[in-house]
């Protein structure tokens, strides 16, 4: 492809302006999974980056339309396997809203605790992987060390380490034990100094700051146009968080902030996630303090649910943004239509416009700062 106009300062004087296609992925160290980005490059500058999706498409929505709600429930934790708790929360919430099931308060509190633990573990994976993208290998192992503690805690109550199926329609699979509660408190106490250490060692590192500050700016307007949510839009200065905007579960009862940074660059998105971990710790601490007693499962939830006909929505704030489940029921045991609104697809779609004219390394830093989980894009 020959482009007639000069595209970037990298092209010297009268040299022919030639571009080439660089196929990034589906197996590339920076695409974390099977994302493929078809990049039209002008030297080291990105002219056009076109994401090619579908390499891990599993027809999650269609699967939801030919099995019962209970049968589909474990699937939801396979969409974004890094924040599985939030995703099952979304689906369970939608079904509960449709079936008008009242969830006991203890179950709601435990849902909040586990969801927030899931958010922290998801952000920790992002943090390690993002620094890996920037060429720093060591933080990954520290992040996984912390994450290990969360996984151990959740394994104790759910039996799974990654794809939990802990929430049930009307409550939880089982109650938490004393070990979990003590462990969660201990984790909160341990994690705070760790976050402080990460700030001193990594966030304030001059090389990291130079690579992130001012790189890959995304305006709030661009976020709105593509429907970006989560830390991406909060990094552009829009304080949109489902937990505050349309509070679900018992989030209304907790005191926490929505960290927003108006700069819109990679650093802002980085700081949003780092700050969110601290906020999640705050929520966990409050929930542990005020954990009510009582049952963890609503009474009289039928084994096979038949939702009344209608159109139901339920949104949760997953680690990567707004995850929404839309259920259309025609009064059968199986949903007529299941729509999953996942944050990563919207967050990825702005990449093409945002990365125009960037250097390859910066574009990949931007891609990393969007925190993409590929099964969440393809579903």
């Amino acid at each position: 492809m020959i482009v007639s106009e000069p595209i970037s300062p990298s092209v010297a004087g009268n040299a022919p302006h030639e571009t080439f296609i660089l196929n990034l992925g589906p197996q590339h160290p920076a695409t974390h999974g099977v994302l493929r980005v078809k990049m039209t490059m002008d030297g080291e500058y990105v002219v056009r980056a076109e994401p090619v999706c579908g390499y891990i498409h599993r027809m999650q929505e269609k699967m939801g339309e030919n099995r019962t709600y209970a049968q589909y429930l474990p699937n939801t934790s396979r969409i974004d396997y890094l924040s599985a708790m939030n995703y099952t929360h979304g689906f369970v919430g939608a079904v509960e809203r449709a079936a008008r099931i009242q969830v006991p308060p203890r179950a709601e509190y435990i849902r909040v605790i586990t969801s927030e633990l899931g958010r922290i573990s998801s952000h920790l994976v992002w943090w390690g992987a993002f620094l890996l993208d920037l060429g720093g290998f060591t933080p990954l192992l520290y992040a996984f060390d912390d994450r290990e503690k969360i996984l151990d805690l959740l394994e104790g109550i759910t039996g799974a380490r990654l794809t939990y199926c802990y929430y049930r329609f009307g409550g939880l699979y089982n109650d938490v034990d004393e070990t979990f509660l003590k462990g969660a408190r201990q984790f909160v106490a341990q994690m705070r100094p760790r976050l402080k250490m990460y700030r001193a060692l990594v966030t304030e590192n001059i090389i990291l700051r130079k690579r992130l500050i001012g790189i890959g700016p995304i305006s709030a307007e661009l976020c709105r146009r593509y429907g970006a949510t989560g830390p991406v839009i909060r990094g552009s200065g829009v304080p949109y968080d489902v937990r505050k905007a349309e509070p679900y579960s018992v989030y209304r009862e907790f005191d926490f902030d929505i960290p927003t940074f108006p700069e819109g660059d990679s650093m802002a998105r980085y700081l949003v996630r780092m700050e969110e971990m601290a906020q999640s710790l705050r929520i966990i601490e409050q929930a542990l303090d005020h954990l009510p007693g009582g049952p963890v499962m609503a009474e009289k939830v039928p084994r096979v649910l038949k939702l009344p006909a209608g159109d139901y929505c339920y949104a949760v704030e997953a680690a990567r943004g707004r995850f929404m489940v839309r259920l259309v029921s025609d009064n059968k045991e199986i949903a007529y239509r299941l729509k999953l609104r996942t944050p990563c697809l919207s967050n990825l779609s702005l990449f093409e416009e945002a990365s125009r004219g960037m250097l390859l390394a910066d574009a990949l830093a931007l891609l990393g700062s969007l925190d993409l989980v590929i099964p969440d894009i393809d579903r």
Partner: protein, 343 residues
């Protein structure tokens, strides 16, 4: 017994045998270092990351380099379709040769150098760029887009860092008044305050000069945080993407051999070579201690910092290192004149 030993040494010191002996010594030294620095790197990385590193092969994983070497040698050598076969095959050889040649002039101890050239410093820097050219050739000959981009990066990075490096070396040559590495070390005898690093009365900016040399050495050996040539999250494996088996192995070994060379040179120029820090018992041990300390710091930096951005790297060189090294050059020239006028 001692007489026999002395006789053997004298015999081996005569010309044709001396050559063979030194070739063997240098090749073995480089091979052992390249192999065991990989082990040090992996062990070091493990410790920085709170894990034990290699433990399985041999005690404390000490046989790991042997296993790695065998694995690499057992692999098929693949030349990608459309690649320039000759250049592709020649690049690993070219990358290794200049390091081996440069090590010939490094004095490991008093008189312990393969070649006592009076222009040793010049030889090292004359041979140095061949290594970069070889990486560029390898990238170019691979006919891989990542490799070509990496080759372009290597060239601009090394053009940028060769200049401050040479300015620093010129400063050192002026301060020492010689290009003979043996003499440069001899001048630094008698306690660590005589080392060039601390000779602030010759040039108050001596520590800064050392820092510039060290940064340039990191950049020239393509080590993190300046590992643009093989930025794995951007360019997969950069210039080495298409290399497998021992072709890759040689590139890998050359990287470590270059670190050994760079650290040896830093030791000779700034840290007093084989001189002991207290003025007592100079010897090859001191040289090795200093050299391995520098090598350890290189490993340390690699596992601590993220990679710099490419333009950040060039900015550092053109906007900071070159002006500062030019300034130190002029300053030491002026100091030499002033000191001479005073005495």
């Amino acid at each position: 017994m001692n007489a026999l030993l002395a006789k053997t040494i004298t015999f081996l010191d005569t010309e044709p045998y001396r050559l063979v002996v030194w070739v063997l010594i240098i090749v073995t030294f480089v091979a052992i270092n390249a192999a065991y620095l990989v082990w040090v790197e992996r062990k070091g990385a493990g410790r920085f990351q709170r894990r034990p590193g290699p433990t399985e092969v041999g005690p404390a994983g000490l046989l790991q380099p042997v296993a790695d070497g065998l694995k690499l040698m057992a692999k098929q050598l693949i030349v990608p379709a459309g690649a320039d076969t000759m250049l592709f095959r020649a690049a690993p050889l070219l990358v290794m040769a200049p390091v081996l040649m440069s090590l010939a002039v490094i004095p490991f101890g008093r008189g312990l150098a393969a070649l006592n050239l009076n222009v040793g410093l010049l030889i090292v820097f004359a041979l140095g760029p061949i290594n970069l050219m070889a990486i560029m050739l390898g990238g170019w000959a691979s006919r891989n887009k990542y490799a070509v981009m990496s080759a372009a990066r290597v060239v601009s990075q090394n053009v940028a860092y060769e200049i401050p490096m040479l300015l620093v070396v010129t400063t050192m040559a002026m301060v020492s008044g010689t290009l003979d590495l043996n003499q440069i070390v001899e001048q630094q005898s008698g306690g660590f305050w005589h080392w060039n690093l601390f000779r602030v009365w010759v040039n108050p900016l001596m520590p800064v000069t050392f820092l510039i040399f060290y940064i340039c050495m990191l950049a020239e050996t393509n080590r993190a945080p300046f590992d643009m040539a093989e930025a794995e999250s951007e360019l997969v494996a950069g210039a080495y993407t298409e290399y497998g088996g021992m072709g890759f192995g040689v590139f890998f070994m050359a990287e470590y051999a270059n670190i050994v060379l760079g650290c040896s040179l830093a030791t000779v120029l700034f840290l007093g070579g084989w001189q002991s820090p207290f003025g007592l018992m100079p010897g090859v041990v001191w040289f090795l201690i200093k050299m391995y300390f520098l090598i350890f710091s290189v490993v340390w930096i690699r596992w601590t910092f993220p990679r710099t951005q490419f333009y950040g790297l060039l900015n550092l060189s053109w906007k900071i290192l070159i002006p500062v090294s030019l300034f130190t050059l002029i300053l030491s020239a002026a100091m030499i004149k002033i000191l001479r006028a005073l005495s």
